[in-house]
Amino acid sequence: MLLAGIPIIAITGLVSYAAYEPRLPGNETTPERGWLGFYLFDWPTHPAWLYRVTQGVHVVLGLTLVAVLLAKLWSVIPKLFTWPPARSLAEAVERASLLLLVGGVVFEFVTGILNIQLFYVFPFSFYPAHLYGAWIFLAAFAVHVAFKLPKMIRSLRSRRLLDELRTGLDGTRPEPPDPDGLVPPAPEAPTMSRRGLLAFVGGASLITLGLSVGQTMDGPLRRTALLAPHGRAYGSGPNDFQVNKAAAAMSIDPADTGPGWRLELTGPRPTYLSRAQLLAMRLHTYALPIACVEGWSTEQTWTGVRLADLARLAGAAPGTVEVFVESLERGGAFGQASLSTGQVADPRSLLALRVNGADLSLDHGYPARIIVPNAPGVHNTKWVRKLSFHPAAA
């Protein structure tokens, strides 16, 4: 399970790194990454649900595998007490790599799980720690798999799954002694069969999954997310969907969002637009998901002005320009974001003014917010005050 699950979590994690379009100004959260934050492609806007799926999988699969990880750590406990700790130099070096393996995997799970609960007790910024910790872990994970894969296949072949599923507690016998000292020399009488343990760990995973996966869904299934930080029900109105960063917390001054609000466009033809002027432009409506790095997501129907139309208004040609978006918010880490040429040019990329047929609520970014297909949630900037269109760096 871990062998299949960890690469999926690692890949979806690195995909999320690419989804932030870190090359663009203001988007890099790990500026000292060196070679570790590489990416192979520009982040696409098609399909619109891609980030919703990859990041939902990253977080929910991680939660699901906590039980499996704990079972794994429990099963190798006897190794902790082997004496002497190493019989050869090779073993000593390998055990040192296990420190990176165990430290790395628990570090990644703990920081990820605390972060989605907004429990920022760690004395470092989440993004660099989670990224670099992942690479330390993956280095140790790769060699661990390379060394242990033949042994794992041998162990799995030594028992037939069907036979084990037919063996109850009365027929459960301890494992024969092994050369690695993983098997206890004098085990107590078993209290749980092997099939029982499988069901136990599998059931624990399913419960964690079942109580959190609803945060990635819409409709009645969302209510099943009893234990997930962002699977909450707000009500049944057009603006009653998950809020992330409430207006009050971002020090949004209601005076700034009132009739005096103007959207500033910069480019070859700088201009200012009121909300009424924006509403008088050609409006478009798309159902697009908003998907957060914390794993939750929801699809809503947004109405607004195309970013491409705003680019033209500012005298810039969509397809050749990026945009730097600035918010009224103060103090947040994501009060600004850059969108790529592809994101600006996509006809579904909107400066949204309305959602589900009603004006945006203040918590959802009134007077205007960005919504871009397949962009991470934090790049759908709320309370937009300024769009700076500039030619893409070559």
Partner: protein
Amino acid sequence: MATLSRIHSMRRRMATRYGADPLHLLALIACFALAGYAASRVVAAGIWAGFLVWFVGAAIIHDLLLYPLYTLADITARRRPWRRRRPPGPVPWPPWTNYLRVPTALSGLLLLIWFPLILGLAEGNYHRSTALDTSPYLGRWLLVTGVLFAGSALAYAVRLRRDKTSSGSRIHLRPPRAPRSFPKG
């Protein structure tokens, strides 16, 4: 040919001294090189001290904290220091350990994952983010815990009933369970 066999014997000599194939060492050197480079990025980010403390803590938290805690709890529960001696009935009680162990562990796992939410430890951040508070989570966790224990109790009752009805016909066919290695004496 002579050089080939020299390389071959060198490789064997090294394998004996090192304790494994040289490829083993190469793979580990590559591992430490990548991990070391990642660590250098941690230093460049200026967060190495906190990172190191949390990393080492993560490496030992299961083995030196969680494992002793849940093992001790498990052993204590199985020895049942609160037990009252019952007169031996005609039917032995079916083993009950797992009917207590499984719901406790599942509820504990959910608490382990979601304790900041359940205990409201990040209330300020949570309210700033969602405009809601964390008050429902304690109740939800207790609800799930209650359902788990109720389900387990129900499963045990079914098991008890099944054992009782089947023991009426084949009480002598069931071999007595081997005595546990505890409690001693």
